[in-house]
Symmetry: C2
Subunit: 156 residues, 2 copies
DNA sequence: GCAATTCCGGACATCTATTGTCCAGGTTGT
DNA sequence: ACAACCTGGACAATAGATGTCCGGAATTGC
């Protein structure tokens, strides 16, 4: 999986803690010392997927497009990593002299088994929201939200 | 995910239908017109993982190391693709001036959420055996097992 | 013992996807 | 008008996946 997913989720948490205000890419990148131009690509992808809203111009930047309870990890992963399955059946069963045209019309059982597993994965991701992850962080590290807010205020 | 996984599972099915007999890489590759040397790498990995047993020398080759009911898709995927998680937390939360050493000792909530989803995926894969997939194929294509056996007999 | 067959694993080449940079253009606040 | 900021495309660098080749060891049949 794309490393940008990690950047994206962390950035979503930060944006959620910050609130309404828009934050430019450079600020979000500086927080974790990430390459700004590349992080920007991930944020653009999130904006295209309507996870983030973007605002051009001075005082512009990104903010969450909806409340964190309405953003699932699946939304973020799909935006960054695409929604193609990890296992893609290339139908090798159709290759070779032993292959039988009648067989191709039936679905590939291996593909079906893999898709079933991936579906379980997607369901888990879709079942966890950004708000859930925020709550987990706040439980083990109650100081984090304030710390984040202050850092982004100070360096505004 | 590695394309070799598809080759590996198909080959396991074929070996299961063939039975006790060992089959050399070249035969298994010819069945799907796959590059033999590269398929051999996947089979080696399966042998290291004790999914297949290998026999050197003339009349040698590969066969299943255990009955297909005892080989899960997770076994095969882990052998070929490795058991590193798709999402790997690089701890970017530790980077940047705002990071707090006290936070690092607590597990990363994002990592935990991702691992939870991957666990569901692994559980699904571990719940499906090669025998299960064989049964699915045989239900929609009853002729396949015999066809496979004959092809490997004829070209022996 | 010898030759043929086959697995084993490392070295290497090639191709593709990921990661990262840069720039020219558009939008917006002051 | 100017500066801050996003957008998207082009491009380079790197890493990983894919594929080939070869020397060595094990095993079989003669």
């Amino acid at each position: 999986m794309n490393e940008g997913v990690e950047w994206a989720v962390h950035s979503c948490l930060n944006l959620a803690w910050i609130g309404e205000r828009t934050v430019p890419t450079a600020r979000l990148a500086a927080f974790y010392e990430l390459p700004a131009a590349y992080l920007n690509k991930q944020l653009q992808a999130l904006a295209r997927a309507d996870v983030l809203a973007s605002v051009s111009g001075p005082r512009g930047g990104f903010r969450l497009a909806r409340p964190p309870e309405k953003i699932t990890l699946m939304d973020v992963v799909a935006a960054i990593d695409g929604d193609e399955p990890a296992f893609r059946c290339t139908e090798i069963r159709q290759r070779g002299s032993a292959s039988d045209p009648a067989t191709y019309s039936k679905p590939c059982a291996i593909d079906a088994a893999m898709r079933k597993a991936e579906l379980a994965w997607r369901r888990e991701l879709a079942g966890q929201t950004v708000a859930d992850v925020m709550a987990t962080v706040e439980r083990s590290n109650p100081g984090v939200p304030d710390k984040v807010r202050r850092w982004f205020d100070d360096t505004r």
